[in-house]
């Protein structure tokens, strides 16, 4: 089914962001792909052709661009596509165990969808939230950060019960009245860097 037929204002808005030239038209490719994927969860074959026609390109070229990025899917994902960050900071904080937990709990592996169509899982690389590791991205909605076993369990339960996913973002920045908080100064009443080095 064509996606943009009845969405002319939306199309006009996307094209207006770029120059009104052939090259500028092509720039709309990524926003158009995102529109379709956000609405349908993936980008079906016929919409690839539709987008190609819109930007004056070919389906092959559109696919070539799509395959470059990890976000676009050509086959359906689960309603909630859980993307686990597997890169170093998250790995140190336990993302491997988090992954194993999801595999056990959902009974699926990478690229598979649960029989009820609710979940799919994917390992991804650093999502820019290393300060709140381990973390996952849920579909295109947002991040869940500082994930513990209990938190993950609760979230899965809620999503299974039909709740909507709400991003759960922590801002790991420590400012109070324009001053940065200094944890240890408060705790030990002195400057840590002037004390004896820590012994474990």
């Amino acid at each position: 089914m064509l996606y943009f037929t009845d969405k002319q204002t939306q199309l006009a808005d996307i094209f207006s962001r770029y120059p009104h030239t052939e090259q500028g038209r092509r720039s709309a490719l990524m926003p158009l792909l995102r529109e379709v994927q956000n609405a349908l969860g993936h980008v079906p074959e016929e919409n690839i052709a539709e987008i190609a026609a819109l930007i004056g390109s070919t389906a092959t070229e559109v696919k070539s661009v799509m395959s470059f990025y990890s976000t676009y899917h050509t086959t359906p994902t689960g309603k909630w596509h859980l993307q686990v960050c597997a890169t170093l900071s998250c790995a140190i904080a336990g993302s491997d165990e988090l992954w194993d937990y999801l595999v056990d709990e959902l009974g699926i592996g990478a690229g598979e969808v649960t029989p009820d169509g609710l979940f799919s899982i994917q390992k991804v690389e650093c999502l820019g939230s290393c300060g709140t590791a381990p973390m996952i991205q849920v579909s295109d909605v947002g991040f869940s950060e500082c994930i513990t076993r209990r938190k993950m369990r609760t979230q899965l339960e809620q999503l299974r019960a039909g709740a909507n996913y709400l991003p759960d973002t922590v801002v790991p920045v420590f400012i109070q009245d324009g001053q940065q908080l200094n944890a240890l100064e408060q705790k030990i009443g002195g400057k840590y860097s002037e004390l004896e080095p820590l012994k474990f």
Binding site: T87, D96, V171, P172, K191
Partner: protein
């Protein structure tokens, strides 16, 4: 921060009572991302000052401030701005690199979610200085909230006459758009970013021509990191003298440092350049939660440094970290705990670079994407053989400096440094088929 208060002695510690956070000063204020809140705190005064002093004076101040690009490479920002042709009659572009995908880096994200107008103001000032009429903000696709907040900020700025035609009656026209990425680290490389923005596969382009001659759509373009634009706002607001009163001889100003790994408070801290690792790790992040063996100082591409007193007491500025054999990079520290296998940690990063290799050039596509990651998989599985480390070093020699862009060299940062510092762990793993140390077991309940 009154403009008159210019300290006689450089500020190189955030514990110095004269130091006040400026880039993150507004984080934590309720509604900090709204235009009202930004203007109530003196927002868009820098833009007014820029219009008052004129475009050439803005570039001049940027040069004098000593600001170096905060996206990783550290190229002097004022100098970069001065490369733009002045009277060529062509349309000029300003691009903000908000792709932030370097593992260990997460500072730009909160600049966008908590204070997007600071970044917009810097971009408008840059556009004014470089005679640009249009700017794009390339935000990595996963930053959903950041994109929403930046869109909203652009909308509010347009309504308030801060974007669009004849901004604040200055006669200067400038507009901004957001372009969202879709999950590819290489899009952070400036020329790959331009290809991505043009709807092409994001392979890096050959330089020269440099973006200032032929960038997006073949037109003169300047690209800077989010933090660089925010720093520009502060510099034009308070003047270059204030800015260069912070930092060391050659590394001026303040910087957002990030820390992740087992410390009491992982997060973002704003420190003057020249603050020590010890200050960052202990005074601000609260110290490690367990013994640490290595510090990655500036995002995954920068070589690891050993956990020693010499390193901990080294100032975090461009020159000192280079002298210690690593790089300041994005200022994203990752601490690797003693009982985390270093080969495993390095494999993790090699896998990252292998996954993100764009495939354009052979040394990186085959070397990193094929051989290097396979070698590490073999080692981590305990199937390594004597001579494998030498083979990795030999391969590195054939990849380093021989690839099309900096991604392949970036991968060699952790590889070569981990072998240099922790060779015994490699040898133990090869001899015994398993590591002395495990993976992580830190996942809390």
């Amino acid at each position: 921060m009154p403009d008159t208060l210019i300290p006689p002695k450089p500020i190189t510690s955030a514990l110095d009572s004269r130091f006040k956070p400026s880039l993150y000063a507004r984080v934590g204020i309720p509604n900090s991302f709204s235009l009202e809140s930004y203007q109530a705190g003196g927002g868009y005064q820098a833009l007014r000052r820029a219009f008052a002093i004129g475009n050439d004076a803005v570039i001049d101040e940027m040069k004098k401030s000593g600001l170096r690009g905060r996206g990783g490479a550290g190229f002097p920002t004022g100098l970069k701005w001065s490369f733009m042709p002045l009277k060529d009659g062509k349309q000029h572009y300003v691009i903000c690199n908000a792709d932030e995908s370097e593992p260990g880096s997460f500072k730009d994200r909160y600049l966008m979610t908590e204070d997007p107008h600071q970044m917009l103001e810097g971009m408008i000032i840059a556009g004014f200085a470089m005679r640009a009429s249009m700017g794009y903000i390339y935000i990595r696709g996963e930053y959903v909230l950041a994109a929403e907040r930046v869109w909203a900020a652009i909308h509010d700025a347009r309504v308030a006459g801060l974007l669009g035609k004849n901004i604040l009656g200055s006669g200067f026209d400038f507009d901004l758009q957001v372009h969202r990425g879709a999950g590819a680290y290489i899009c952070g490389e400036e020329t790959a970013l331009m290809n991505s923005l043009e709807g092409l596969r994001a392979n890096p382009r050959l330089k020269p021509p440099f973006p200032a001659q032929a960038g997006i759509y073949g037109l003169p373009t300047t690209i800077n990191n989010v933090e660089s634009f925010c720093a520009a706002t502060q510099i034009i607001r308070y003047g270059w003298e204030w800015y260069s009163s912070m930092g060391t001889e050659k590394s001026k100003g303040n910087k957002l440092f990030q820390i992740s790994g087992p410390v009491q408070r992982p997060g973002v801290f704003e420190l003057p350049l020249g603050a020590t690792f010890r200050e960052m790790i202990f005074d601000f992040a609260g110290g490690p939660l367990e013994p640490i063996k290595a510090i990655i100082p500036g995002g995954s591409s920068t070589p690891m440094m050993p956990w020693t007193d010499t390193v901990l007491d080294a100032p975090m500025d461009y020159e000192s970290i280079t002298a210690q054999g690593s790089m300041l990079g994005t200022g994203g520290l990752i601490l690797i705990p003693q009982n985390y296998c270093i080969v495993n940690a390095t494999w993790n990063l090699v896998r990252f670079y292998a996954h993100e290799s764009c495939g354009k050039c052979t040394p990186c596509r085959e070397g990193i994407g094929g051989w290097m990651v396979k070698m590490y998989e073999k080692l981590v599985r305990g199937q390594g053989k004597p001579g494998d480390v030498e083979l990795i070093l030999d391969m590195s020699d054939n990849i380093g400096g021989k690839s099309f862009c900096a991604l392949a060299d970036a991968c060699l940062g952790p590889v070569l440094s981990s072998i240099k510092l922790f060779r015994s762990e490699y040898d133990y793993l090869i001899a015994n088929g398993k590591s002395q140390y495990g993976g992580s077991s830190r996942w809390a309940d």
